[in-house]
């Protein structure tokens, strides 16, 4: 199953998602719904850290980086950017039946695509996406493939056919070691993703490095994917109404404003 590392290097799959730029999102004050039209996209930021990590591992061990995504053909923009940053090639699973997939069919689809790519040693995902923020797809892929997983890693090394990852968890940094093939999710901000290079852009321009697969190409039935294959539904979405606090704002000069504030806090008994 595992390729012999060192002979041909590592085959690394980096799973990425194209997301709207978080800081550009805003709620329409009239309709109270999220304004998505015309919002610029980017590669999900933690996925950029995963790609950077893959590029560094390839520099050290040799091999190939295949970037994998699932979504509409507009995602080609991000896949091409990943190639311009240094990935070797990219696969986009694109199929109208995939629309509305929750984390279960998403993990299943990516797993099927990884099986079709074949001979994969290491799968890297960002720790979570900035638009859905579940962190469930990476472990879901590992669960479907029945391979080990190491989540929330900030450092990853490959030693003697094993992966050693340092996980950032609540009370410290925990180091896990697992045999290849293995799935690793990468901590947001653990490295500085490089910029696309001119040579990379030229490779993109020559074309042929992004392939599209349909669900049928990877052996999935329409009933397994999209809304039909998703256990969860979004029943409704409420716009958050922050509780009105009717705040008192002091605009006086500092000495007076501070004095009024401290008096108010003492009256509320929150400071002695």
């Amino acid at each position: 199953m595992t390729s012999a590392e060192g002979k041909r290097g590592l085959r690394i799959v980096v799973c990425i998602k194209q997301v709207p730029k978080a800081q550009e999102l805003s709620v329409d004050p009239v309709t109270k719904t999220l304004k998505r039209v015309g919002v610029p996209s980017e590669i999900n930021p933690p996925d950029q850290n995963a790609l950077e990590l893959a590029l560094r591992l390839r520099e050290k061990h040799g091999g190939e980086i295949v970037v994998l995504s699932m979504g509409p053909t507009s995602f080609d923009e991000s896949l091409e950017r990943a190639i311009a940053m240094g990935a070797d090639r990219a696969v986009l699973v694109t199929d109208r039946n995939l629309g509305g997939s929750d984390t279960v069919p998403t993990a299943l689809t990516l797993e099927h695509a990884i099986e079709k790519i074949g001979g994969v040693d290491l799968i890297l995902c960002g720790e979570e996406t900035t638009d859905a923020s579940t962190g469930h797809v990476g472990p879901g892929i590992a669960g479907h493939m029945d391979i080990p997983q190491i989540t929330y890693c900030s450092e990853v090394e490959i030693l003697d056919g094993k992966v050693r990852g340092t996980r950032m968890i609540e009370d410290g940094a925990e180091t896990w070691e697992a045999p290849l093939p293995c799935l690793v999710t990468v901590d947001f901000g653990c490295n500085k993703p490089r910029q696309p290079t001119l040579t990379g852009k030229i490779r993109v321009k020559r074309g042929g490095l992004v392939v599209h697969w349909s669900a049928a190409d990877i052996g999935l039935e329409p009933s397994q994917i999209g809304l039909r294959g998703s256990p969860t539904i979004v029943a409704k979405v409420d716009t958050v109404q922050l509780p009105a606090r009717g705040g008192r704002i002091f605009q006086e000069e500092p000495v007076i404003a501070v004095s009024l504030l401290l008096d108010a806090l003492r009256k509320d008994k929150v400071i002695p």
Partner: protein
Amino acid sequence: MSEAHPTPPPMEAHRDVWVFLEARNGALRDVSIQLIGEARRIADKRAARLCGVLPGWKVEPLAHEAIQHGVNRVYLVEDPRLETYTSRPYTKVLAALRWKHNPEVILFGATKNGRDLGGRLHAAIDTGLAADCVRFDVTEEGFLDMIRPAFGGKSLAHIHCEKHRPQMASARLNVFLPPPRDPGRAGEIVRETVEITDADMDTKVVGFRPTVTHETKKIDDAKILVSGGFGMADPKNFAMLEELAALMGAAVSASRKPVDSGWVPKALQVGQTGKTVRPELYVAVGISGAVQHLAGMQESAKIVAINIDPKAPIFEVADYGIVGDLFQIVPEMIRQLRAFRGQREAPPPLPAAVPQG
């Protein structure tokens, strides 16, 4: 592909609400106890039992603790191979118990390990999983209403899992209040055995470097937080906040930008990608109030905002605000707090009353 799983029994055969009880270093994680309160409420609405699932090694005292907080029954799975969390053995335990007892609901605390486990488990047992919920309810039809922030906290999504069982969700840390502990409460401990093979142990924990505890503990437990934002302009200006915090009996925290800029440790970060806090008083200094930050502190009992920009969104959630230059306001607060303290702690001795005349 993973092994084929059993055919699930009919929907109505699924009963009971389960909470994953996460043990770490011989104690239950805070979020596990917080979840017991919320899960108890859901179980009561469904007229169901509340059960805890506790994998680990030498963790029986924690089962009693969970019962005292409101769990009816604990499934206790003790095995030296479960002493430290790794993904595969824990997933195997949860999956085996799921197929044996058919729970209607399983809730996890959204710790790193809780999300690691939930994500792997939902694929293994083919059901849905809502992440990072901040509220739960039961719909008229009897479905679990799993409510979570969406789009960076700008909206709340209600997630339902109508056709698969169990309905699973993780819950954000520090959102639910821990239920009181009643040593008189009785419950049942059911010991379960799940075989953990060598093959299940292919992942090993080979090292651990703890975060310095004073950094992490401080912001979770503090009754008052003085939190600095990008407006602090320079890491050395946090010394001023430390001084203010010391005078108020507070701890110092931060918004995301000072953390991303490397000014303060990640453990101090409040917000969507940091911690959720609910102190009695939250003083936001030079924090504009991005929704991601508000998501982590808006449940504070009182909020004070200090910002130079009167239009900063932080003022919308503030009980009190001062519009002005924090480099004038914070030193003034320090000065006045010191003066007040001096006055209170060393009151001038009153002269003994001398009878006149």
